[in-house]
């Protein structure tokens, strides 16, 4: 059993500030962490390995400092960590990212499962997992909160807005995991010190992937960021001060006026 987990290093905050001039994230002073739902994906992979044996390989595309995220994954207990890092990868949109991760997965074939977090807290697109499945032409099940292997296939509970679906797919398949799936384990204390002092994070660049740099990074990105902005703050609410019956009448009137009812 070989399980690949694709993770992303993100800034540790839900309120990332943007540089109004360039429209890019201000990363200074914000510690970097493994994207929270990617940790759920790691946990799912590790517990599956504990049941069935095999190997968990974590891959991440990012700048050299994403090394720290991969060390943390090693400290959680994964077997192998690979950082996809190259100047040619820079500026990638979700498709170019999925392509790069997909190339790495191909190099790691044969594999049985690819797990991703549902979405990253910085980009919030939830696209990289599905696009990677498309690139690799493998079945995908998104928003998974529970799964198991049944008769050589994966059966997963997929969260919907109003309930859930149960889907089954042949292997290899790609699943995106939600935070409801599990409680990620802590990296262990000895694991942390081993990860930095004894273990290796492999580094793969364009040449290692045998890829055409034209299809990767900014050049391989069909979408471009034109402008980023923070939405204006929500206007304060209004309190209708009147006796209850009168207030209710006023409120109804206001709601009709705004075509809310």
């Amino acid at each position: 059993m070989r399980i690949i987990v694709a993770i992303k290093q993100v800034p540790d905050t839900n309120e990332v500030r943007l540089d109004p001039r360039t429209g890019t994230l201000i990363r200074e002073g914000v510690p970097s962490i493994i994207n929270p739902e990617d940790k759920n994906a790691i946990e799912a992979a590790l517990s599956l390995r504990e049941q069935l044996g095999g190997e968990v390989v974590v891959i991440s595309m990012g700048p050299p400092q994403a090394d720290d995220a991969l060390r943390e994954a090693l400290a959680m207990g994964v077997d192998r960590a690979i950082l996809l890092t190259d100047r040619a990868f820079a500026g990638a949109d979700t498709w170019a990212t999925a392509t790069t991760l997909g190339l790495a997965a191909k190099k790691l074939a044969p594999y049985d499962l690819i797990l991703c977090g549902r979405q990253a807290i910085d980009g919030d697109t939830a696209q990289v997992g599905p696009q990677m499945a498309e690139y690799l032409n493998v079945p995908q099940i998104t928003y998974v909160r529970e799964f198991s292997l049944v008769d050589g296939q994966v059966r997963a509970k997929r969260t919907m807005e109003d309930g859930f679906e149960v889907l089954q797919a042949p292997l290899p398949a790609l699943l995106t995991i939600t935070k409801e799936a599990n409680k990620p384990r802590y990296p262990t204390a000895p694991g942390i010190f081993r990860a930095y002092r004894e273990q290796q994070v492999e580094r793969w660049g364009v040449a290692d992937l045998g890829a055409d740099p034209e299809g990767l990074g900014l050049k391989g990105s069909p979408t471009q960021v034109k402008r980023s902005f923070s939405p204006p703050p929500k206007e304060p609410g209004e309190i209708i001060k009147a006796p209850p019956a009168e207030a209710a009448k006023q409120l109804l009137g206001r709601m009709k006026q705004k075509n809310l009812i």
Binding site: A75, Y186, A189, P190, F193, R194, R197
Partner: protein, 391 residues
Amino acid sequence: MDFSFSKEHELFRRMVREFAQNEVAPIAAEVDAEEKVPFEVLKKAAKVGLMGVPFPQKYGGAGAGEIGYCILMEELNKVCASTATIIGAHTGIGAMAIYLDGTEEQKQKYLVPLAKGEKIAAFALTEANAGSDAAAIQTRAVRDGDYFILNGSKIWITNGDIADIISVFAVTDPSLGARGGVTAFIVEKDFPGFRVGTKETKMGIRGSSTAEIVFEDCRVPAENVLGQFGAGFLTALKTLDVGRISLGAGCLGGAQIALEMAMDFAKNRYQFGEPVAQKQAIQWMIADMATEIEALRSLVYRTAWMLDSGNMGREFSTMAAMCKLYGSEVLDRCVDKCVQIHGGMGYMKDYPVERMYRDARITRIFEGTNEVQRLVIATNLFRKIGLRIKG
């Protein structure tokens, strides 16, 4: 000069902080109120490798060194001084004595299960008539073939009633006094003649257990002599030296959280139409707290760095005493100011500040009173210019 933590220590701090917030903080009020040892937390701590943090991995530890261990004590003390005290007595002095002076066989047999958290350790020096005057211990150990027979009792032993393995100090030759006449032993709780005596009820750190332990013709195998025969007092002093750094680190954590809580309260508490933080009286308290905390942080981590660099000389001993002395007094001043800034709310049991105030008081007393620390510091300083302090 480089004051930065390594990446592994930074990740370790983040991991400990999460563990402390998620697993320890929720039980802190309860273990205090019910005087209950948090065994579940200790089990979880063992699982993630927090019961042997400073020791090398070949002995079942995390390999985090003293710096890593100080990070652990700092972060744990932010949320629960009781849990920190249990793990501190276990790791920082109980198991530490075996790490510092144990033979390879003793380390394999005792340190490994302790560092993995499969067993709990304690350190037993204090007696009814030997507190600050530790050299006055009366517990006797007499050789009997392949055994030593121990008689006597130790009081106020942290983890005394929950420990499986205890580092015990006993007189082997009364004519020689402390230097030469005291030997350290590794005692298992199941050795015949060992029993737990009175359990204490305390002002603070109530979730940690403090008990008397009694030796009545307790048979200890001769191979369990810890360190050199007759050199037990040195083992005790060396272990306590090391323990004082992490004690200072624990105080640092307690003081830091007192500052953060005081600031948060001062920002949100309105009097006279504005946050009380607008009052200079409050600002000065906050400024003093923050300044002392930063000074303490530098002292603690510099001393931890000295130990990790292999320096265990007299200068180290002086610095370690300063960590304990200054740490506990900074903590004392910070929690006191924190209570004062909280006003009436700082006195009510609904807020953790009240517990922090009670928990802090012991740090000026245990593991060598602050008066003893001052004595150690002054003795070491005067020795440098050729004056022997009588003690």
